[in-house]
């Protein structure tokens, strides 16, 4: 049991240090600083990546609908939080829109300005999640009968349809058609993002270690055996799909907060691929891996390699080579190298506390000796 205690302390210390670092960044740097942006975007990606990992990594359902569910969450958040006073200018082509209220303002009415707004914002995030979950339930009815690649294609198609649907002019009074939704309240600082996403990821982690999470893993490992041991496949797959989509919806709402404006365009399938890339790089079946990979991914693509696009990188000034698009070329090479050297992703299926576990180190040595 001492090992268990050691692991708990280790995890708590690491998380506390990370949170403290985030608070320090918030206090010392202005909100438009690149470090704050990176933290915000990375936490949102981390949450969505973990939700995708729950489905793809832990339940073994290869779904590519994440962007669609994020879109739902983002729109739900935006539509419900735009202040009444701003509606006329946001929905200028649709006579101020069809929704005459703003949830944070309602909450502000009886909880006070600051608290009410924050509660209202969180409430709208929740609604976005629930909407995504509801949609997942409906989509899941036909789609979850499919397996592996077919499931991926069906969910991908669903996400693309949803994106086109949200740009439809007839829905304009709600979604503003293909125009931007903007002027809604957001969190400027990074800490609220970290806390929110951290909380959600903690819930997912609790789920994965519960009896239901174990059932999900059994389905991933061997469906036939799982069913023979009394695990209802349809029910558990649907459950995983709905829960994963719920958190993707919340992630979408947070993405809307981070971006400041909402349009359907960013929620393309390429967003899903980005998330999938993060899951694979981090390690399929590792929550820590997904979080770590999303920070590394966002940090290098947004900050570290930025110079490759704008002329100067690591002090080398070569505007002829470091042109727009060069960043992605280098980035692709890095990803290939990572995939080659970490076949199972950075973390494999290990989690943060396992890093100090001598059992894993021993196993690695054993494996090396075996080869």
């Amino acid at each position: 049991m001492t090992m268990k205690k050691k692991k708990t302390i280790f995890t708590a210390v690491v998380l506390a240090i990370l949170l403290a670092a985030c608070i320090v960044v918030d206090m010392t740097l202005p909100t438009y600083h690149i470090a704050v942006t990176v933290i915000k975007k990375a936490t949102v990606y981390a949450l969505v990546a973990v939700s995708m990992n729950l489905l793809n990594g832990f339940t073994g359902l290869f779904s590519l609908g994440q962007a669609g569910f994020m879109l739902l969450g983002a729109y739900a958040y935006g539509v419900l939080t735009i202040p009444v006073a701003k509606k006329a200018s946001v929905y200028q082509y649709f006579d101020g829109g069809a929704i005459p209220f703003s949830v944070p303002e309602i909450f502000a009415g009886f909880l006070g300005e600051t608290v009410g707004t924050v509660v209202g914002m969180l409430f709208c995030l929740l609604i976005g999640g629930l909407l995504a979950a509801l949609m997942a339930y409906l989509i899941g009815l036909p789609v979850l009968r499919l397996k592996s690649d077919y499931l991926a294609i069906a969910t991908l198609g669903f996400a693309e349809i949803l994106r086109a649907f949200f740009q439809w002019n007839a829905l304009g009074p709600i979604t503003n058609g293909s125009n931007l939704l903007k002027s809604y309240p957001t969190f400027g600082k990074a800490t609220p993002y970290v806390l929110l996403a951290g909380l959600m990821i903690a819930v997912i982690l609790l789920l994965i270690n519960s009896t239901y999470g174990r059932a999900f893993k059994a389905i991933r490992d061997d469906e036939v055996a799982a069913e023979a041991m009394g695990i209802n496949l349809a029910k558990h797959k649907r459950m995983a799909f709905i829960i994963s989509s719920f958190f993707a919806g919340i992630g979408g709402g947070m993405m809307a907060m981070y971006m400041g404006t909402i349009a359907a365009a960013p929620f393309k399938s390429s967003l899903t691929y980005e998330i999938l890339l993060i899951v694979v790089i981090g390690g399929i079946g590792s929550i820590t891996g997904s979080v770590l990979a999303s920070f590394l991914y966002i940090f290098s693509s947004e900050w570290l390699l930025r110079g490759l696009d704008s002329g100067t990188f690591l002090g080398i000034n070569a505007p002829d080579i470091f042109k727009n698009g060069f960043r992605m070329a280098v980035f692709s090479v890095i990803i290939m190298v990572i995939v080659l050297f970490f076949r199972k992703g950075i973390m494999g299926d290990k989690e943060l506390p396992d890093l100090i576990d001598p059992k894993y180190r021993r196993k690695k040595r054993k494996e090396a000796a075996g080869k």
């Binding site: 239901y212 059994a218 023979a228 041991m229 009394g230 209802n232």
Partner: protein, 280 residues
């Protein structure tokens, strides 16, 4: 005196034009160990799959503890193709999925071991307890089911103790030697708290010594967990030693049934296994 646990009634399983199980009738009473034997391809595993809900029989019914749990009759294009008997006697369709059958109290093992590979020995058995869990996903996630979880863990520990796998409980299931993996699969089935245990070739790939151990083990668990056991096996030593009764299948048809001694002296069984001489 003893009540029937499993009754397979006129079950026919036809795949396209192939009749894999042809009008199978068998009955297993409480506390018995019954073996189903037959040459390769006789339809033994198909019979198992029909019983556990993996396949839906083309025609016929399965009763479990006095209740009809599976029933089917030829439908669609099978109506024309059906070659079996008792056509038209069954009119209902009862087709529970395997998980429902397991919840009713039937648990099985597989011919080729199907353990959950990425899980430890302990977790493999613990997951089988999931079907007996009463908590919903919220109470389980937010740990409101502590009592149940603790009880299940305790039960799994005790079970592992009984089957002799307690010392390897934290090993990965796939790192166990073959014989122990077989044993773990049985332990996993036991964790689902069955009344009837179905073993599909439990001694496949075992050496004589391991087979003897397994024979003793099966008898032990029958007494300890008050089980009824239905097994498929090719190791005749094992079958003859522990079975109360034996059913013999050949080309999907039941050709004999009886006690081990009766079966050993049954001419049709010997013919099925050894072949019939051309000019005899």
């Amino acid at each position: 005196m003893s009540k029937s646990v499993l009754k397979i009634e006129n079950a026919t399983m036809q795949f396209g034009g192939v009749v894999a199980v042809d009008n199978l009738n068998l009955e297993i009473n409480e506390g018995e160990i019954v073996a189903l034997i037959g040459p390769n391809g006789a339809g033994k595993t198909t019979a198992f799959n029909v019983t556990t809900g993996v396949y839906q029989p083309t025609n016929g019914a399965v009763w479990f503890c006095g209740e009809k749990v599976i029933e089917n009759h030829p439908q669609g294009k099978m109506k024309k193709l059906y070659k079996g008997e008792h056509d038209g006697e069954y009119t209902h369709v009862l087709a529970p999925t395997p998980d429902k059958i397991t919840k009713m109290g039937m648990a099985r093992t597989f011919q080729n071991i199907r353990l959950w590979k990425s899980q430890t020995v302990f977790d493999n058995v613990l997951i089988a307890k999931h079907c007996r869990a009463t908590s919903n996903v919220f109470s389980a996630t937010f740990r409101l089911n502590r009592k149940e979880e603790a009880r299940q863990r305790q039960e799994v520990l005790e079970l592992l103790e009984v089957v002799g796998l307690a010392d390897v409980k934290d090993e990965l299931a796939t790192s166990l030697p073959y014989g122990k993996q077989r044993r773990l699969e049985i332990a996993r089935a036991l964790a689902a708290e069955p009344k009837l245990l179905l073993l599909d070739e439990p001694a496949a790939g075992m050496n004589p010594q391991e087979t003897d151990e397994l024979t003793a083990f099966i008898g032990e668990i029958r007494d300890k967990f008050h089980l009824t056991i239905f097994l498929i096996e090719h190791h005749m030593n094992l079958v003859m030693n522990i079975s109360d009764r034996i059913y013999v299948l050949d080309f999907g048809k039941l050709i004999a049934e009886g006690t081990p001694t009766e079966i050993q002296n049954n001419k049709r069984v010997i013919d099925a296994y050894l072949g019939v001489a051309e000019d005899a």
